[in-house]
Amino acid sequence: MFYVKLASRNIRQSISNFLPFGLSSVVMFIMNLMIATILLSPSLKKLKGSGSFAMLLGLGLIVLSIFATIFMIYSYRFLLKRRTKEFGLYNILGLKKRHIVRISILELMMMFFATVITGTVFGIILAKFLYLILIHLLGESYFDLQWSPIAVGIVTMIFACIYLLLMIISSFSIRRQSSLELLKNASKGEKEPKSRGILALLGLVSLAIGYYLAVTVTSPLDALTKFFIAVLFVIFGTLLFYLSFTIWLLKRQKKNKAYYYQPKHFITVSSMLYRMKQNAVGLANITILVTMTFVTLATTVGLYSSINGFLDDYFVRNTIININTTQQRGTSFIDQVAEKNGIYLKHKISYEMSNSMIGAMQNGKFENKQKLSNLTAVNFMTADTYAQLTGNKVHLSSNEAIAFPAVGSFNEDQVKFGDHTFKIKEKISGTVTFHRSA
């Protein structure tokens, strides 16, 4: 109980030291929990394509956990560095290392529970919010996101592991140093960092691989897994890049005496060398976070805007009216209805086509077999309609036809209806933005 009191007092007294760590811990927890809550919510299953979406979220959870681990270790080391003097003083003034370790573990446990509690509350609130955005993006209408205790459990487990790692780090660093070293830690001169060319190269290579993988993803089938691997490569590469490549580069600059011993370079290079060592992980984390935000934003905007493009492609007109009659009677009927209701018709396009002939093609015949896989639906049209739609004039002689296969494949040269055989003179294939006639 004594140590619990001491630990909680430590946190309260030096809240300014603990706050950045606590904040990053809570934010990481919230981010993980939001993803996990949506992933495990039963309402996700109601969404179309929930399978691949769940997989995406699952991979996202893994990436976020890795990121959270790196980020938490970084901010904890930052905290620990500021606290070693205190620990050293405790040791000199009469607290065993074992007990100091116990205090630091208790502090971490308190931070852990605080994280879980605040993180759960805010995580669930924000998950709802995120879910609403998601639903809006998908254009669905299931607004019943439920908080799931399993999601909280999973994220809590992930964070328990992270905190366990932090406890190991802290007890290791406390036990390794003597009390004098601990006391002097804050003012201790940092050794000049070593440059590690191999790591620098590895960082660059894995960055290259990561971005190459990400850019070359084409098939939607392996997009998810490939992209996931790419993300891992990029995270790994970015960390290594900041940890070693920057230092390697600065060291090279320092070796070049003509360059180094100029006032401008002298100050920047020498101080950058030390700062990079302390802040490499921080900078890498920021870079990764920014990259993630960027990718997320870009993909979201890309997907969302291309959904609209997709719709525009497939539904060129606002209103399509199909009337089963001749063109003349059809247009006059529509005009009549429009006039009666006071509607002004704009950008009118009207054309005449046969009803869809549906069946499986066999030697130019529509066989009415119930074989869905090779079902074809074909419309036929007059030469006038063809000219109107495409702007090309054709002349149809007798027993010639123009076909528009709307569904399925249609590669016949001729079609037979009973005893009549028609030669296919022209074909409109695919979706055409119809030529606008006046």
């Binding site: 003097k85 205190e86 003083l89 003034l93 009469g94 065993k96 290392k97 004098l180």
Partner: protein
């Protein structure tokens, strides 16, 4: 006899290089109860190393340090912290107060770590505070204090455990002349109440307030002076002369 230092030797060897530094070669001396000893020497002569060894913060390569009949160099690692708490008081050059604690809590810190009763802590502080003239500072935070005030608080923290021996490493080095003077006078007063003090310094002024001065050079005690009943200023002259001759022999 309170403290007995016998043939202390300390050789530093860094992990990565084979180069050895002999910080203490062969140091022997003893301290009686109630003494106020200053250890003087040039920079790099091994003063801090010696003090850290006495403070059980560093293990000697060989030799022994016997405090009240117990060889402190033989104490097990996990018993050291407790030993320091119950037997030693520390005054540092750079105070080492915790900014996160109030002045009062900083002073209580060693007692809190030793799980002393609150009543006892308050009683002891009540006795100490007026002597050190820190009554008005108790509710402040360390960053609100001047250097001299901080060091007085640090002294209170060292004395509140009622240690057998107070160890001080250049306690006046971070202070200006006036603050140093009053702090040294304060240490003298504390010594007059029977508190044994061992102080490391390279300033003749600081050393002149002690009852006995040991001179250390190249890791050896090579001379000592007793103040007897002299004025501090008189004593200082002799210390200065000794130091000059010490330098003189070295420069040659």
């Amino acid at each position: 006899m309170l403290l007995q230092v016998k043939h202390l030797q300390k050789i530093f060897q860094t992990r990565f290089s084979k180069e050895k530094t002999i910080a203490l070669q062969d140091v022997s001396f003893s301290v009686e109860d109630g003494e106020y000893i200053a250890i003087m020497g040039e920079s790099g002569s091994g003063k801090t190393t010696l003090l850290n060894t006495l403070a059980t913060l560093d293990k000697p390569t060989s030799g022994s340090v016997i405090l009240n009949g117990q060889d402190v160099t033989k104490i097990k690692e996990n018993k050291l912290a407790e030993f320091r708490r119950t037997h030693l008081g520390f005054i540092f050059q750079d105070f080492n107060l915790l900014d996160t604690l109030s002045v009062r809590d900083n002073i209580f810190l060693p007692l809190v770590l030793g799980r002393e009763k609150v009543r006892v802590m308050e009683q002891r502080l009540e006795k100490l505070a007026p002597k050190l003239n820190i009554n008005d500072l108790l509710n402040k935070q360390p960053f609100e204090l001047s250097g001299g005030q901080k060091q007085r608080v640090a002294i209170a923290r060292a004395l509140i455990t009622e240690p057998e021996l107070v160890l001080a490493d250049e306690p006046t080095a971070a202070l200006d002349f006036k603050n140093s003077e009053s702090l040294l006078a304060l240490l003298e007063e504390i010594n007059d109440t029977g508190q044994t003090i061992l102080m490391v310094t390279h300033s003749a002024i600081a050393a002149s307030h002690a009852k006995r001065v040991l001179f250390i050079k190249d890791g050896r005690i090579f001379h000592q002076l007793y103040r007897a009943n002299r004025e501090a200023s008189k004593f200082m002259q002799e210390i200065s002369m000794t130091m000059t001759s010490l330098l003189g022999t070295e420069v040659r």
